[in-house]
């Protein structure tokens, strides 16, 4: 199976039944993804969990009252159950002093149990496969069609499509209200945007989307469709509108991937779609360009290497400076040297240390002769820049912040890597009047900006 997957996937997707499954599932999943974004952003993702369970008794009661189980009755049942859940969790949280997570657990388990009892008790005559509760029956959805203009359209599409339309309409019309209520409920209240009403409206929309997805994807797997696309989109983009678009795209992608894989491998399509959504989230979490774990680790590694390289350059520069010949003279070039083992140790040791030394050699900032590492001219210039940055910051801390001279080395050691030319110039200008002939608090020269100087004795104020 796995090697032949791509052609098998394509074949699978072109099958009319699969096509119908995908169309219905994609419509439901996009609705879920859109409302799910708001759940994720409000940090109430688990309300999706609660609502998806709690919709069951609402649907059962709707079926019991209206025997035909028409869409209107189901809608009323779902919305009623959703509002009841929202109301009950609020009551237990705000008036019953129950923590948010516990109140959800209390409310949805009770409502779900009520639903199961009602099913077992009163729906013996109606066929109600309990497996539908957790995985839906996408195949049934695709088989149950009506013929419109020569095309077999699944009946479920007639509820899924209007719901998607309603979700898009509500999000568009109440864009400003939902945005403010999502990110800053207090502000929404002061602006008179009725955040409580918006909250209940959101919960109503979630209940309705969950109801439409109930048949095709099931009550537990729909949680994946509510949360995964939104959470993944949140890792990829920063603004609300792109987040909604990306989440919708991801929902469609998860549907396609999941349905095709399920068809090719002959497994549960709902389960496969949920897994595909989870995998898309995992991919976003790992490889997202800005917030992905891998890219962040890479960024941190790059920074660590830079800091280690610079530490070695600064150390070599200081050695050269300390030699009696003086930092600037050509003969002094040989004075700034360490053994290779020492160099790795200065770079923090380990593979990062070894790599940092290798990078320095490759960049021509240091060279190796035998077992010693020497500073090149380019390296000396860089070392000088760093030492200047370090000593300027030390002077600044003593002069402007009023720290003791023996407390300024460590903070300067950390910040020296991040002071650009303009900040250095600014510091110099600010402390110039009090600068003691261009010396740092420990009495050492502050090197000038730019290349190595011929005279190691002149201060930094000159050029």
């Amino acid at each position: 199976m796995p090697p032949a997957l791509p052609p098998a996937l394509l074949d699978a997707l072109l099958d009319p039944v699969t096509l119908r499954q995908v169309a219905v599932a994609a419509t439901c999943n996009v609705s879920c993804a859109l409302v799910g974004c708001f759940l994720v952003l409000r940090r109430i993702s688990l309300m999706g969990d609660a609502l998806s369970h709690a919709v069951l008794p609402g649907l059962v009661i709707a079926l019991l009252v209206a025997r035909d189980g028409g869409p209107a009755a189901m809608l009323v049942g779902a919305v009623g159950a959703g509002l009841a859940t929202t109301f009950l969790t609020r009551i237990t949280q705000e008036h019953g002093n129950v923590a948010a997570d516990a109140s959800l657990g209390v409310v949805y388990t009770t409502l779900f149990a009520l639903g199961v009892v009602l099913v077992k008790r009163y729906m013996t005559d109606i066929h109600f496969d309990i497996a539908c509760v957790y995985e839906g029956s996408l195949l049934n959805v695709a088989m149950n069609t009506t013929r419109i203009a020569g095309v077999d359209v699944p009946r479920a599409f007639f509820t899924a499509a209007p719901v998607l339309l309603a979700v898009v309409t509500v999000v568009t019309l109440l864009w400003k209200e939902w945005k403010v209520a999502t990110f800053d409920p207090a502000l929404a209240k002061t602006m008179g945007l009725a955040p409580t009403a918006m909250y209940y409206l959101l919960m109503t929309m979630v209940s309705v989307t969950v109801m439409t997805s109930f048949e095709s994807i099931g009550s537990i797997l729909v949680i994946a469709m509510l949360i995964a696309p939104g959470a993944a989109a949140q890792l990829l983009v920063d603004r609300l509108a792109p987040m909604l678009v990306v989440s919708a795209v991801l929902a469609v992608a998860a549907t396609l991937l999941g349905a095709a894989a399920a068809d090719a491998m002959n497994v549960s399509p709902a389960g496969a779609i949920a897994v595909a959504a989870g995998l898309l989230y995992a991919a976003a979490a790992l490889f997202g360009p800005r917030y992905g774990v891998v890219s962040r680790l890479a960024g941190q590694t790059r920074l660590a290497l830079r800091v280690r390289r610079e530490d070695l350059l600064a150390r070599l520069y200081r050695r050269r400076e300390a030699s009696p010949i003086g930092a600037g003279s050509p003969e002094a070039a040989a004075a700034g040297r360490v053994t290779a083992a020492e160099a790795v140790a200065i770079c923090g040791g380990g593979w990062l240390g070894r790599r940092a030394v290798r990078q320095l050699l490759r960049r021509g900032q240091a060279r190796q002769s035998g077992d010693t590492i020497l500073l090149t001219d380019a390296g000396a210039a860089e070392g000088q820049r760093l030492v200047r940055s370090h000593r300027l910051w030390e002077s600044y801390l003593v002069d402007e912040v009023g720290l003791q001279t023996d407390h300024v080395h460590d903070p300067a050691h950390e910040v020296e890597h991040f002071l650009g030319e303009s900040i250095q110039a600014q510091i110099e200008e600010q402390i110039a009047p009090r600068l003691d002939r261009g010396r740092d608090p420990h009495g050492r020269d502050i090197p000038a900006a730019g290349g190595p100087r011929s005279d190691g004795r002149t201060g930094g104020g000159g050029t």
């Binding site: 994720v40 940090r43 109430i44 993702s45 688990l46 969990d49 369970h53 237990t92 008036h95 019953g96 002093n97 129950v98 923590a99 997570d101 516990a102 959800l104 657990g105 209390v106 388990t109 009770t110 779900f112 149990a113 009520l114 199961v116 009892v117 077992k120 008790r121 009163y122 013996t124 309990i130 957790y134 537990i220 797997l221 729909v222 949680i223 994946a224 509510l226 949360i227 995964a228 939104g230 959470a231 949140q234 890792l235 399920a262 002959n266 497994v267 549960s268 709902a270 389960g271 496969a272 779609i273 949920a274 897994v275 959504a277 989870g278 995998l279 989230y281 979490a285 917030y291 774990v293």
Partner: protein
């Protein structure tokens, strides 16, 4: 079959399960990890399926080990996701729960295709089979219950510290991380053992309900744990017996009651009853307390307004009911209740025209209330540097709650510093200092 003899055994086993779940779940709830058990239970499904597919067995032990491993992997994911990404904990819980469950559903559909793989045993993990509680299951359960209860008893002090002040526990040198891990492992163990009995969805209820319900009745951890055990056991036993109870009460039973969901519904009933009727934290008790306070406040306002009306008109005035209502800021219903109560206490008389008059005892009360209000106003103006026209509102809010001893102290203090006009007379209980707001109409009514 002699169902009669099996049911009490199942009920006893369920009670054991409920008690264990209640005690262990209490720590999950108090550590704000209520949904941990829920996530574990859902995340266990792929482990069960993999164990079933690999070992081609339905042996409970093998499946439970698979469940435990998958569940723990799920918990690791739940803790790792918020740490490494900017996804929040709630989304992480939902993601892990649903994605793992999705993997489980896929694997289940593979298991169904196998000729040997009758997945009947696996289905019980989803919805539970309380009826399976017999023989070996009960013995396993008893061992788990004994271990977890013993561990709770031995590490009671440490667990208490962990639940209520983690930072302090860490500062005291307790290994909070290890303790936390132990608590989570306990929850995991109980979840996995109970899973084939409770089912995935109802597992959360077994863990959460007892503690949340017990919290309404006590603020002490020991009592809460004990109550959790009792409530968990009672709910489980009643849930199992509900079918028998119903059959005994109503002869014409329309159909069986599934025990698993019934356990949850009984727990829900216990919770709802506690939420409503618990003595201090219950909604009814708190509603009554709120109403009582409001009645006290409005009574004080009525008394003061009538006293001041008397001052303004210079005598024991009769105030028309409508005029009083305009002076007292209160909803009409509370005001009517307050007036009825005052008449019942004999503080108020009303004639047929709706005109109200204070009785002598009512007059004394009114003078006392007004005195407290004005003393506090004087105190605010003279000691807290609040402008005279700003003193009324804070005084209005606080006057109802000033104890008598404080009022006496206030009076002595004000008299000593010369802020009350007649030092000697001022300490007399009946003395009412003049109002700060309308000095022209006041008259010393000693």
């Amino acid at each position: 079959m002699n169902a009669e003899s099996v049911v009490p055994k199942i009920a006893a086993g369920a009670a054991l399960l409920g008690a264990t779940g209640g005690v262990v779940g209490a720590f999950a709830v108090l550590r704000r990890r209520s949904l941990l058990g829920d996530t574990l239970a859902h995340a266990a499904l792929p482990g069960i399926c993999i164990a079933h597919l690999l070992l081609a067995t339905r042996d409970l032990w093998a499946l439970s080990v698979g469940a435990l491993l998958a569940g723990l992997l799920g918990v690791v994911c739940v803790t790792a996701i918020p740490k490494w990404t900017r996804t929040r904990e709630d989304a992480a819980l939902g993601l892990v729960l649903s994605t793992f469950f999705g993997v489980g559903v896929v694997l289940l559909s593979i298991a169904q295709q196998r000729p040997t793989g009758a997945q009947a045993g696996l289905d019980s993990f989803l919805f539970g089979e309380v009826a399976a509680l017999r023989g070996r299951d009960v013995r396993v359960l008893a061992v788990v219950a004994a271990v977890s209860l013993a561990a709770t008893a031995v590490f009671f002090k440490e667990l208490k510290l962990l639940c209520f002040d983690e930072g302090f526990a860490a500062a005291q040198g307790w290994p909070t991380y290890t303790l936390d891990l132990a608590v989570m492992s306990g929850v995991a163990l109980v979840t996995i053992v109970c899973l084939p009995v409770c089912g995935v969805v109802l597992m959360a209820a077994v863990l959460i309900f007892p503690c949340v319900t017990a919290r309404y009745w006590s603020n002490r951890l020991g009592v809460v744990l004990l109550l959790s055990a009792v409530l968990g056991a009672a709910a489980a036993a009643l849930g199992v017996l509900s079918d028998q109870i119903e059959a005994a009460l109503f002869t014409a039973s329309p159909g069986g009651l599934p025990p698993g969901p019934m356990i949850v519904l009984v727990s829900g009933l216990f919770f709802a009853a506690s939420l409503l009727a618990a003595p201090e934290r219950g909604l009814i008790a708190r509603g009554v307390q709120t109403l009582r306070t409001r009645v006290e406040v409005v009574t004080d306002h009525v008394l003061r307004e009538m006293y001041e009306f008397g001052e303004e008109t210079g005598g024991q005035a009769n105030i028309p009911g409508r005029q009083l209502a305009a002076r007292v800021s209160s909803d009409p219903l509370t005001l009517r209740l307050v007036l009825a109560l005052m008449r019942w206490r004999g503080w108020l008389e009303a004639d047929a025209g709706g005109t109200l008059r204070l009785t002598p005892s009512g007059g004394t009360e009114a003078a006392g209330v007004t005195r407290t209000h004005r003393l506090w106003e004087i105190f605010l103006v003279s000691r807290a540097d609040i402008a005279a026209d700003h003193a009324h509102r804070p005084a209005d809010e606080l006057e109802h709650f000033l104890p008598r001893t404080l009022v006496a102290e206030l009076e002595a203090e004000l008299a000593r510093t010369g802020r009350l006009p007649q030092p000697a007379a001022a300490t007399a209980a009946g003395h009412v200092p003049p109002s700060l707001h309308a000095p022209a109409t006041t008259e010393d009514r000693a």
